[in-house]
Each structure stands twice: as structure tokens, then as C-alpha cells.
């Protein structure tokens, strides 16, 4: 074995870059999830005007996470960020029962878009700490997730403000990419 091939073996494999898209209604907790992924302080979050982006290195992947504002006025811009998305992450405020229908409609609109065809989707059932919140299983039923047949999907319960459950969701994201 030559020196060159030994050196080549020692060199770490280049990280695979992934593009993750974080979407959901306003006040769902997208920015909190983004910041907790990047291990940043989450005590002074403000509503997102436009978007935030952060790169996180985990599990041999470089994740470029795009967090786009969720208010109604910004939603028409979501489609500009669909291209080359590897995984869609959809965040739901599990305690916001009044807007479950609205969040469901937005989710199915995303799933029916051609540019997001076959893209795996992870749904975060966020704010599990709130007393009136739905469990992940209840939320999956309400949103009709089991009817999704054309792609891999997963629901993950989490409390982003305490950093609970966020990592588990990202593990599924990395696994579903490796399978591809």
C-alpha cells in the first residue's frame, strides 16, 4: 500500500450537504427549533420577518436549515425556497387547536407541490409542555398523516423551548437521507 492511498484513507470523507426547509404557521416554534439545533440562546426570539438560515454539522452531514416566516403575508414566498430541498420539516403548535385546520391545509398544499415530490416530511408536534396540547399520535390522526403514501413521513413530539425531542427528530432526518 502506497503512502498516498494511506493518506487518502485518513482524509475524512467530505460532509454531505443537505438542504432542510422549516415551515409552519406563525408562532409554531420554527425559529426556536432552528436556534436550539444550533445550540443558541432561545430566550429572546422575535417573530421572523423574512427568513433565517443556519448551518449545523451533525452525524457526518452539513445541514443547511432554512427557517421561513410563517405569517400569512409571507406564505406566498415559501415556494421560492422549495427547489433542491432534501427534507421538509413542518412545525405545528400542538396547543393551537383553533388553527389546526389552517395548518393542515397549508401542509397538504406543500405536499401536493411538484417541487417537493418524494421529499420526506418530518412533523414536529411542538409545545408538548402546554396543558391543552394534543399528543403526537392525536395530532397525526387529526392531520391525517397515515394517509400519506407517496413519501416517508414521521411525527415527533417536542418542546423546543426546553430542547426536548428536537434531536430525536433530526436523527430520523439523517436516517431517512441515508436510506435514499
Amino acid at each position: 500500500m502506497g503512502l498516498l492511498s494511506i493518506l487518502r484513507k485518513l482524509r475524512p470523507a467530505p460532509e454531505k450537504e443537505l438542504r432542510l426547509l422549516l415551515l409552519g404557521l406563525d408562532n409554531a416554534g420554527k425559529t426556536t427549533i432552528l436556534k436550539s439545533l444550533a445550540s443558541e440562546d432561545i430566550t429572546h426570539i422575535t417573530p421572523t420577518a423574512g427568513f433565517n438560515i443556519k448551518s449545523v454539522i451533525t452525524d457526518g452531514f452539513k445541514l443547511n436549515v432554512w427557517d421561513i416566516g410563517g405569517q400569512r403575508k409571507i406564505r406566498p414566498y415559501w415556494k421560492n425556497y422549495f427547489e433542491n430541498t432534501d427534507v421538509l420539516i413542518y412545525v405545528v403548535d400542538s396547543a393551537d387547536k383553533k388553527r389546526l385546520e389552517e395548518t393542515g391545509i397549508e401542509l397538504y398544499e406543500l405536499l401536493s407541490d411538484d417541487k417537493l415530490q418524494d421529499v420526506p416530511v418530518l412533523v414536529y408536534a411542538n409545545k408538548q409542555d402546554l396543558p391543552e396540547s394534543l399528543t403526537a399520535a392525536e395530532l397525526a390522526q387529526t392531520l391525517g398523516l397515515p394517509t400519506i403514501k407517496d413519501r416517508a413521513w414521521q411525527i415527533q413530539a417536542c418542546t423546543a423551548s426546553e430542547g426536548i425531542g428536537v434531536k430525536e427528530g433530526m436523527e430520523w432526518v439523517c436516517k431517512s437521507i441515508k436510506k435514499k
Binding site: 422575535t46 417573530p47 409571507i74
Partner: protein, 312 residues
């Protein structure tokens, strides 16, 4: 490398230079600063640095005492005058300065101490507002929200507490309560101050936010600017502004004025940038922030809202 050089300088060289200057001028470092530096931020910042580097046990104890008072927001009223007087006499005693000869120094040092620990207290006051969550069951919080509406939209009544109309002044949905988030009541108080103390400029800014191309969400951008002002207060960048503007003990009012300036200037900058849409907010905000930080590095900077009405 630069760090160890700096360390070497402060540990060995600085005392030698100070001793030499003290012997030749007959003045201690604080006196040289108070007599030599320009009034305002340059002088106050230099006094602050000099005190922080002091190796005297008594001065160190004094600083701790002052920090404790301002962190607990007890630096006010008659207490404030007594605290300042006590602090000045400690310095006079330690540095062996004759107050009758150097009465100007006594006055000047007193002002510096008031500003330095007034600023520190301001951080604590602003933080208390920020950590107060907006509570829709609290009458006063609700009243402030209605006041904000009345200031900005005097000709239009609200149809209800939860209504789409809130989006006209740039909240995200039908109920503003979730929009304050990490900025708490500070976000609302900032907006309320801007819209009541600078009513005409605020309405002017609001009208820009309704522009068909360059429009943005007034309240949401406002809350993001609260976050910017708060960060600059905390990391000390806002000292230049406070030290140059404040005529007495810095108060929350001064922070609101700083915020109002930022909002007015941001709006102007935003329109100048001719953004394609709201998605350019982060990049334009970053550029705006770096411009403000650059001007705050200049010790002579003061900010004033230059009211001019333009049409786009």
C-alpha cells in the same frame, strides 16, 4: 499574541507609565482624564476603563458596591445623590486629592459615576420589562395595546379585540399577543413610545410600511428592532449614545428614544435599499446594524431624529 502583549502592558508597563505621569503632573489618572478628555462619551468611557483596571482594594470594593446597587435598581432619588457623594469621597481619599483645589474634578467625576452606574441600572430596568410577558388578562397591558392602535390609526376604530385589523399596523395575525414573544412588554412599550412621542414620524413610517412594493410589517419589524436596541444596550455599544445624550440619570425613556431613532432610520434605510420583497429583511437589517455599530464607535456620535417628510 496580541492578547499576551496587552496583558504584559496592563500588568507591567501601565503602572510604570501611570507612576511617571503622576510624579510629573501631580495628578492621578482619573484627574488627567477628567481634565483632558472631552465631556461626554470619551471622558466617561475613559473613567470607566480606569476604574475597572484599578488595583486598589478600596476601589475594587467600591465598584462591587456600586454594581450591586445598580443591578438591584436602587440607584435613584436621594439614595442616588448619597451613593455618588460617597463614591467620589472614596476616590478622593484613595487618590489623596484635595477636593477644595480640585472642585471641578469632584463635579466631573460625580457625573461620570452617575452615568456609568445609571447605564448599568438601565440594563436591569430594560431587562425587567423584557422578561414581563404580555398578558391579555392584565388590564394595563391591554390598554397599552389599544393606545398603540389609537396613536397609529386615529381615524379607524377597532371592530373587536381579536380582529384582522391588527395586521394593518403590522402584527402577524388576528391577535398581537403571541407576537411579543422574547421581547415581552419591552416590545410593546417601545412601539407605544415611538407612536406617542413621535406621532408624526411614526405615522409617516407606518405609511411607508403600507407601500405596495417596499411595504413591510410595521409591528413585527418594530419588535425585531427592539431586539436590536436591547442587544446593543447589553453589549455596551449603546454607551456612546447614552453618555452623549443623557443629562441626568439614564432612564428607560432614554432607551425608548434610542429605539425610536433606530426605527425611524431603519425605515429610511429600508426604502433606500429598494428591497424586492420582505424576504430581504435579514440581510438589510444586518447591514443597518453594522452601520449603526460603526457610528457608535465614534465617541462623538449623538443620534437625533431628523424629521423630514418625503414621498415615495
Amino acid at each position: 499574541m496580541t492578547f499576551s502583549l496587552w496583558w504584559l502592558f496592563t500588568l507591567y508597563l501601565r503602572p510604570i507609565i501611570k507612576w511617571f505621569l503622576r510624579k510629573t503632573t501631580g495628578l492621578c489618572e482619573l484627574q488627567r482624564i477628567c481634565y483632558g478628555e472631552v465631556n461626554g462619551a470619551p471622558r466617561i468611557r475613559a473613567v470607566e476603563r480606569s476604574l475597572a483596571l484599578s488595583k486598589s482594594q478600596q476601589i475594587k470594593q467600591l465598584l462591587q458596591h456600586l454594581n450591586d446597587i445598580s443591578d438591584n435598581r436602587r440607584f435613584a432619588g436621594t439614595n442616588e445623590r448619597e451613593v455618588v457623594r460617597g463614591a467620589v469621597s472614596t476616590v478622593l481619599l484613595v487618590k489623596k486629592v484635595n477636593p477644595h483645589v480640585h472642585f471641578q474634578f469632584v463635579r466631573s467625576l460625580g457625573i461620570c459615576i452617575e452615568q456609568i452606574w445609571g447605564y448599568r441600572q438601565l440594563i436591569a430596568e430594560v431587562e425587567a420589562l423584557r422578561t414581563t410577558k404580555f398578558d391579555s388578562d392584565c388590564f394595563e397591558h391591554e390598554r397599552k395595546l389599544y393606545d398603540l392602535w389609537d396613536n397609529l390609526m386615529p381615524d379607524e376604530g377597532l371592530e373587536g379585540r381579536v380582529t384582522k385589523q391588527w395586521q394593518d399596523i403590522g402584527f402577524q395575525g388576528d391577535d398581537p399577543k403571541t407576537d411579543f414573544r422574547g421581547m415581552g412588554m419591552l416590545g410593546l412599550e417601545n412601539l407605544l413610545f415611538f407612536s406617542s412621542e413621535y406621532q408624526a414620524p411614526a405615522r409617516h413610517v407606518l405609511s411607508h410600511s403600507h407601500h405596495p412594493v417596499y411595504g413591510y410589517c410595521f409591528a413585527i419589524v418594530g419588535i425585531n428592532l427592539t431586539s436590536l436596541a436591547w442587544q446593543m444596550l447589553r453589549d455596551g455599544s449603546a454607551k456612546t449614545y447614552v453618555y452623549n445624550t443623557s443629562k441626568s440619570l439614564p432612564s428607560v425613556r432614554l432607551f425608548h428614544q434610542f429605539y425610536s431613532y433606530l426605527f425611524y432610520e431603519f425605515d429610511r434605510f429600508w426604502v433606500e435599499c429598494k428591497p424586492r420583497d420582505i424576504m430581504e429583511f435579514s440581510s438589510i437589517k444586518d447591514r443597518f446594524e453594522s452601520n449603526i455599530r460603526t457610528s457608535l464607535q465614534d465617541g462623538n456620535t449623538t443620534f437625533r431624529i431628523g424629521v423630514s417628510v418625503d414621498n415615495i
